[in-house]
């Protein structure tokens, strides 16, 4: 049971890092506020099911839509400011969002929202194993979406924007449209993760969605290898299970994260499995493949 709980949470982290990878890894838009969208999804589902009496499934869909819409709004902000500014702006969005959750009575204030119902299908309520199945399906959906996008025109446009925004614009790539698209899709996935999270834990409070969560997500993505789906999955799996595996590190968690980020950036900015990381290039050579496609 305990293993299932960890696995479900890791699945939720994977959906989050896959979404963040679309925004930061592919389109190159630094987001330090991904947890805000996670929170919007979670609070949407919680409010609709607990206060509004909605069933789980439409509330989950609403969570995805709400987070995606909020993301589109922030994406519109992103077309006005350059990379450094965007990082601060998204961080600010995270702080303001958490403050709203904390101070507006509708969102339950510091106590949060409890008693969130789980999903049911045909009158049967989901137990832990079936919820894990649902999460796994959602991860597969998110991965499928990312793979499909990576091969599409949008994926190509994002890489062009990431590498050189001006050159992309000069080559008739609609930079504004694709930036907003990246934010919308990436944050919609965060909304999906938020809905699942709220329903799984049955209780949420504002502190779950603060700036430290955004940093943890970014840390996962960077550790795995930013810009790749495999990196997003592996990073989420490693840091998602790390607190369980390394219990003795519990007190030093952020010291470890911080040290890890600095050392990775200093010595291996491509992370463990990024396209330019030593491990991945070694694996490619062993398997007789030349450089892997960027979105593999």
């Amino acid at each position: 049971m305990y293993v299932l709980t960890v696995a479900t949470l890791v699945g939720i982290y994977m959906i989050l890092t896959l979404g963040l990878n679309t925004i930061t890894g592919l389109a190159g838009q630094i987001s330090l506020g991904h947890a805000a969208f996670f929170g919007v999804g979670a609070y949407t589902l919680a409010l609709l099911t607990v206060t509004g009496g909605w069933p789980f499934w439409p509330a989950l869909a609403a969570a995805v839509v709400a987070a995606g819409a909020f993301g589109a709004l922030i994406g519109a902000l992103a077309i006005r400011v350059r990379a450094d500014f965007l990082a601060i702006a998204t961080m600010g969005v995270n702080f303001v969002t958490v403050s709203v959750f904390l101070y507006v009575p509708l969102f339950g204030g510091a106590l949060g929202i409890g008693g969130i119902p789980g999903p049911s299908l045909g009158g049967v309520e989901f137990g832990k194993p079936s919820f894990f199945g649902l999460t796994a399906a959602a991860v597969a959906l998110a991965l499928g979406l990312n793979l499909w996008l990576g091969r599409s025109w949008a994926g190509l446009a994002w890489l062009a924007i990431r590498d050189d925004e001006d050159a992309a614009g000069a080559s008739a790539v609609d930079v504004r449209k694709f930036k907003i698209l990246a934010f919308t899709l990436g944050t919609a996935l965060a909304g999906l993760a938020g809905g699942l999270y709220a329903s799984y834990l049955t209780f949420i409070s504002a502190s779950d969605f603060g700036f430290p969560m955004s940093i943890t997500l970014l840390c996962m993505l960077v550790l795995g290898g930013i810009g790749t789906n495999r990196g997003a999955l592996v990073g989420a799996a490693i840091l998602g299970t790390a607190p369980e595996v390394f219990r003795f590190l519990a007190d030093y968690r952020f010291l470890t994260y911080g040290g890890l980020l600095v050392l990775l950036m200093r010595f291996s900015p491509a992370g463990l499995l990024g396209d330019e990381s030593r491990l991945w290039q070694w694996a490619c050579r062993r398997l007789g493949r030349s450089g892997a496609p960027a979105a593999a």
Binding site: L32, R80, D84, Y103, V262
Partner: protein, 284 residues
């Protein structure tokens, strides 16, 4: 009431300005966001407290706070930022965040999570300005800030090094082509910015009578909002931004009953500025 809030706001604002100046200066020469500046600020507070407990002298403690901050800031520049300069900006940004969260945890492990009180007996008389009272700690904060800012200003406009610093922040490559030692100027810049942050950390510790590991949090994020408000890289803009944020949030909290936390206002203001004036209030 209004006058008193204004005095309180100006005090807090001058602390913000002092803290945010280092961020602006580093952005000016390296075009990077130095999130770990907040860790330098906290380091200054702890060093100042330790020196004050050992010697009992405010001025020695201030010197120790600034010296420790300079050491910390230079170490970051040497070991992390300079080697990362050729890499894409996201690499320095992430490394900087990593430094900040790692160091904050380190402060907690070394000094413990509990807040320490920082009780400095100030031998300054209370100042009465009409309806407003400037308390002794407020007078101390404003005085020290004013002296440090005046010193910085004189340095920047009156000395050759100050000129070099301004030149490098305008264009690093052209400055290098004019035979300026960019490396030295960047280090000097880190040293100055860190010294100001160290002083700010100690003054914040005294003003709120408390020093604790996460005291840099709010300051770090708000400092970023302030330098954006003022126009990234603009030194007068940062001072103006700091004072504005300090006064505005004190007035909003004191006079209007809005159920919204003090610390979110700066970000809200920043997001509005982004939408209507992305280059900041005094940016070019």
């Amino acid at each position: 009431m209004l006058a008193q809030q204004l005095v309180n706001g100006l005090t807090v604002g001058s602390l913000y300005a002092l803290m945010a100046l280092g961020l602006t200066m580093v952005y000016g020469v390296l075009r990077m966001l130095h999130i770990a500046h907040a860790a330098v600020f906290t380091l200054g507070a702890y060093a100042g407290l330790a020196a004050f407990r050992a010697t009992g002298s405010f001025w020695l403690a201030l010197a120790a706070a600034m010296a420790a901050a300079v050491f910390g800031g230079l170490a970051m520049e040497r070991l992390v930022y300079w080697p990362l300069l050729p890499k894409p900006p996201i690499a320095t940004l992430i490394a900087s965040i990593g430094l900040f969260i790692g160091l904050e945890e380190l402060f907690r492990i070394v000094a413990g999570p509990q807040p320490y009180s920082f009780d400095v007996p100030v031998r300054l008389a209370e100042l009465r300005l009409g309806p407003a009272t400037v308390t002794a700690p407020q007078a101390l904060v404003i005085l020290v800030t004013a002296v440090l800012l005046a010193g910085l200003w004189l340095f920047l406009v009156r000395t050759r090094l100050g000129l070099a610093l301004r030149a490098v922040s305008q264009d690093r490559d052209v400055a290098a082509a004019c035979a300026m030692n960019v490396r030295t100027v960047v280090s000097l810049n880190f040293a100055l910015g860190s010294a100001l942050a160290g002083a700010a950390g100690m003054l914040v510790g005294i003003y709120y009578n408390s020093v604790y590991p996460t005291m840099g949090d709010v300051t770090a994020y708000k400092g970023l909002a302030i330098i954006v408000l003022g126009g990234l890289g603009s030194i007068p803009g940062t001072v103006l931004g700091g004072l504005l944020v300090g006064v505005a949030e004190t007035l909003l909290i004191g006079l209007v009953e809005v159920p919204f936390p003090r610390d979110a206002w700066a970000f809200l203001a920043m997001i509005v500025v982004f939408l209507f004036r992305p280059q900041g209030l005094l940016g070019r």
